[in-house]
Subunit: 261 residues, 2 copies
């Protein structure tokens, strides 16, 4: 467990919070967390009983550093770490590992999960996508990651960026589609919660078979009468109607099967 | 349990299959199932050990009839049932109850769930949306539905059609979005299965809070550099790129919060 020596974290956002929580649960709490905002620092101190610092001095003494700041701040943070002797990784799904290349030993540690401060999640099943600029550090990073999750995967920048793009589809876009469903229901004084069993069963089915095999509905059947009725029902919501049309056409063009039951 | 007397089912598709299975599990197996296709009839006989018939004679003797055929066949089926004395319901999310109005006692029994022959599901938590053309039959239908699920809800045609439209968004469109994520991953020799923990956590979060509160990602942050990189990555997939753009713009216009972590 101590092969990494002292672990430090930079950041006070959703990823930093979740990391502090996961590390604490594995008795690997960081030696320090660097946070610039004093209010956020105090919250972290109270929540995780960790040593929260406001300058880089302590961080430079660590052996392993997880830079869990937002994408646009990574370069600025890295500029303070040019003399860092440990292994520094960022946690971004989309930013190049090369943002850290002025540090001698660097890499990426990208947990493929949506994280929020108010949800305590386990990393046990979360894919941890790792990269390091030397084989030795890749082995070390892998050893660290395997203590947190059974799903550790080597990924270069290009693969990680493709995964991040796919994640935007399956997470963010799925989310916004759920929101539109909720809006249609709200117009009729109905709660989104009635959709929970349907959504969960569809997700189960999609991963068990494949999304293509799990697909049902009017576009899949080529049921143009229902499609037209739906488009008319959305006439007061032109943006949502446009999304309905483009996704329906996509299904009609790619997945329409003329199955008669 | 016997307040309905003899239950009959018409159909051999996903809904009819699932109904036979659910009714059997509650020891309420139908007295007969009407199926026109002989191959399908034989499958149903073997699977559920029920009396499968090919004409309307036996069906007319039942007390409660569930017409679980595809939407376009409901009217034709109803034309054979003008003398039916029991309560006849269809199971469509989208078709008017009035398709059955030449039958004396009619209604709708719409299970809000995606169903497949190869997945045995329970109705315990499935919303059952019911309608009947008389208060007495509505009470009977409610009693029946409550034996299958704890979530029984009265719905007129208009509400049911709104629910069906919402279901197309949260189920079919979510499904096709997962498929696009899978396509992006496949291009990079990666399996969709790595997305399962992310998708499931996002779904949990969306129903626990709301989709709006659960939304993260580049469009939510207004991260135009990542959005542009994603669009370029999709340049070989113009249809998927178009979907990326429209959903990203929808988020930018409706949900963009300039949160700095």
């Amino acid at each position: 467990m101590m092969q990494f020596g002292k672990i430090a974290v930079i950041g006070a956002g959703n990823v930093a919070y979740t990391l502090c929580n996961v590390l604490k649960s594995k008795e690997m709490s960081p030696c320090c967390v660097l946070v610039r905002n004093e209010a956020e620092a105090e919250k972290l101190r109270q929540k995780f009983n960790v040593n929260v610092v406001s300058d880089y001095e302590k961080v430079l003494e660590s052996d392993f550093l997880i830079i869990a700041v937002n994408d646009d701040s990574i370069a600025e943070v890295a500029s303070h770490l040019i003399d860092y002797k440990g292994l520094a990784v960022h946690t971004s799904g989309t930013k190049s590992s090369e943002l850290l290349n002025r540090i001698e030993r660097y890499g990426v540690f990208y947990p493929l999960q949506t994280m929020s401060k108010d949800r305590e999640i386990s990393f046990d099943e979360v894919p941890l996508l790792i990269y390091a600029n030397s084989p030795e550090d890749l082995i070390r990073l892998r050893g660290f990651a395997l203590q947190l999750s059974s799903k550790v995967k080597y990924c270069d920048d290009e693969q990680r960026q493709a995964i991040h793009l796919a994640a935007v589809f399956v997470s963010n876009f799925t989310n916004v589609i759920l929101g539109i469903g909720g809006k249609v229901l709200k117009d009729n004084n109905l709660p989104l919660s009635i959709m929970e069993p349907l959504v969960k069963e569809m997700i189960e089915k999609s991963f068990k078979n494949s999304p293509e095999n799990a697909l049902t509905g009017p576009a899949r059947r080529g049921d143009m009468a229902t499609i037209q009725a739906h488009e008319e029902m959305l006439s007061n919501h032109p943006k949502e109607q446009e999304i309905y049309k483009i996704l329906t056409n996509y299904i009609l063009e790619n997945y329409h099967k003329n199955e008669k039951l």
